[in-house]
């Protein structure tokens, strides 16, 4: 009896959160999927909304913008975060430095988006500075507009917000890394790149993968930042979906759901590919042979 209790204990502890995850994600996506596959008036099964979606250039433009924005901001954040952590992790042992890194984490994404506007928009601080230096005479001459079709402002916002996130994810790995590995590799004849490649990267890889996936999934589907910094066309996928969802009649609702379903499918596909690869590496190590 005691043994049985021991054995089901972890499941009992996990039951509430797993239930929450399944109810929210399972129920939510299932309902959205069903709605995207049914005619909005008759309720009949149909794939017409997906067909319309895939032939609609508006959707493709949004998809491309979302995908490139998410990929770029994720890649830059991860690389920058990694470089900063690699060279400065000794400093972050001290609490005041760690607190500093926490600061952007305490700023909501929408406020961060506003900060980017404040600094980099056409009427922003940088623009005023350029005017002072005499490089521009009119606000309209400002060359670094961030509210553009490439989503520059969105990317900048995410980088400012996510680099600290990456640092906080990577710090524990660096603290746990045995610093004598460096002596082993260097005395065997390897330089610092070799130290990174052989000792640090294998330990970092799982966390880097996880962090990358979290950031990508978040940025491709987040609403708040592009709502402030986006342009009317092309819209990021979630904004496109939101717009169709609230259009006058309900005829675009299934299409709005379909947009989110495609986004969901894309992120999950990428996540499983990335996790799968990283898991295979880990299995290889722990199998022993």
């Amino acid at each position: 009896m005691k043994l049985f209790k021991q054995r089901i204990k972890p499941y009992l502890l996990l039951l509430p959160s797993v239930t929450a995850a399944i109810v929210f994600v399972g129920w939510g996506t299932a309902a959205a999927l069903l709605e995207s596959l049914q005619d909005w008036e008759t309720g009949e099964w149909t794939v017409v909304y997906y067909h319309e979606l895939f032939t609609n250039p508006v959707f493709w433009d949004s998809l491309f913008l979302s995908f490139s924005t998410a990929l770029l901001s994720t890649a830059v954040s991860v690389v920058l975060g990694l470089v900063v952590t690699r060279y400065l992790y000794h400093y972050f042992r001290k609490n005041r430095w760690k607190l500093l890194v926490w600061l952007p984490m305490l700023v909501p994404h929408l406020v961060a988006a506003y900060l980017v506007l404040l600094f980099f928009s056409d009427s922003g601080l940088l623009s005023s500075l350029l005017y002072r230096f005499g490089w521009i005479q009119e606000m309209s001459e400002y060359p670094f507009s961030v509210q553009n079709r490439q989503g520059t402002g969105i990317i900048l916002t995410y980088i400012w917000k996510e680099v600290p996130f990456v640092i906080l994810m990577l710090l524990p790995v660096y603290y746990q890394l045995n610093s004598n590995y460096e002596a082993v590799i260097r005395t065997l004849g390897g330089g610092s790149w070799e130290v990174f490649k052989t000792a640090e990267f294998p330990a970092l890889a799982p966390v880097l993968t996880e962090t990358g996936i979290i950031l990508f999934s978040f940025t491709i589907a987040a609403f708040e930042v592009p709502y402030i910094l986006g342009v009317t066309y092309p819209k990021m996928l979630p904004l496109l979906s939101y717009q169709w969802y609230f259009e006058n009649d309900w005829s675009s609702r299934p299409a709005a759901m379909a947009v989110m379903m495609v986004t969901t499918f894309l992120t999950l596909l990428l996540a499983f590919l990335a996790f799968g690869l990283s898991q295979r590496r880990r299995n290889q190590m722990s199998r022993g042979k």
Partner: protein, 326 residues
Amino acid sequence: METAMLSCQHLQVHISHHVILHRINLAVQHSEIVCVVGPSGCGKTTLLRAIAGMVPVSAGQVLLEGVNITRTKPERRPVVMMHQEALLFPHMTVIENITYGLKLQKIPKKERERQGMQMLNRVEMADYENVYPHALSGGQQQRVAFARALITKPKLILFDEPFSSLDPLLRRSLGMWMKGMLKEEGMTALFVTHDKEEAMMLSDRVAVMVEGAIHQIGPPLDVYQRPLSVETAVFFSEGMLLDNRFFITNDAFTITADSSTLKEKKLVFKGHIAGKWLRSGQLFYHIVLDTESQELILPGEATFSTGDKVFIEAPEQAVVDLEEIR
């Protein structure tokens, strides 16, 4: 005279304004095994790291076969370092780990594997070629790490407490095995340990290091029996220190039960047995002295019980005057 393999001259290391190494002079001859022994925190690991090039040297120099390598990058020095943990790369197989240094030297794969297999045979691990490190025992891991170091044919191997994470029995047998390998290969080695028995077993000469300075270098038994300073006496030798100046090593003492047999020209101390045990077939007594507030561990032939009053005696000529020697 032949140039020494390793020669540290007036080596000094500071770490953020603290003097860690204080004018170290140390020479290791070709094919010699030297053990630096000292209490933890005495700077012995820093000495190894300075020789390997992992910490900047603030004064003095390191010569390898007469060549000044003080400013050479660690990866360019023909010196390898081993640690308490084996630090095998978890994502590489045993053979990949062993041939890692050869790969860095850009030696072709075929040749690497040939040398790797040869080395695996040498360290008696031939069956483990494609095994990942986590499946190996602690001793096996340390042997693979040893092979990984040896295969690059370094001029000098540095060992930082390589056995201290192993259990005591394995520690001794692996130590003797490694010493045998080093001697067969004619390898020069510098060990660092806080375990003086290990130091005596492994080394041709020991160097006693206390608070960043080397106090005495010599064959282990000499250093044990003729300590030249209080620090060496207290840390490396075993015996009784009197007035912080006179020293009697344990092997001069005998334990007796009654004072009637006491002869002249002998020093006698009163004490009682606090505990006893057997080790390697020999009885040992833990004796607490009444006067000197010292404790001694001595082997004894006669059988005493815990709590017995005893006398311990030593011939007068066994007393070493540490100050006079200095």
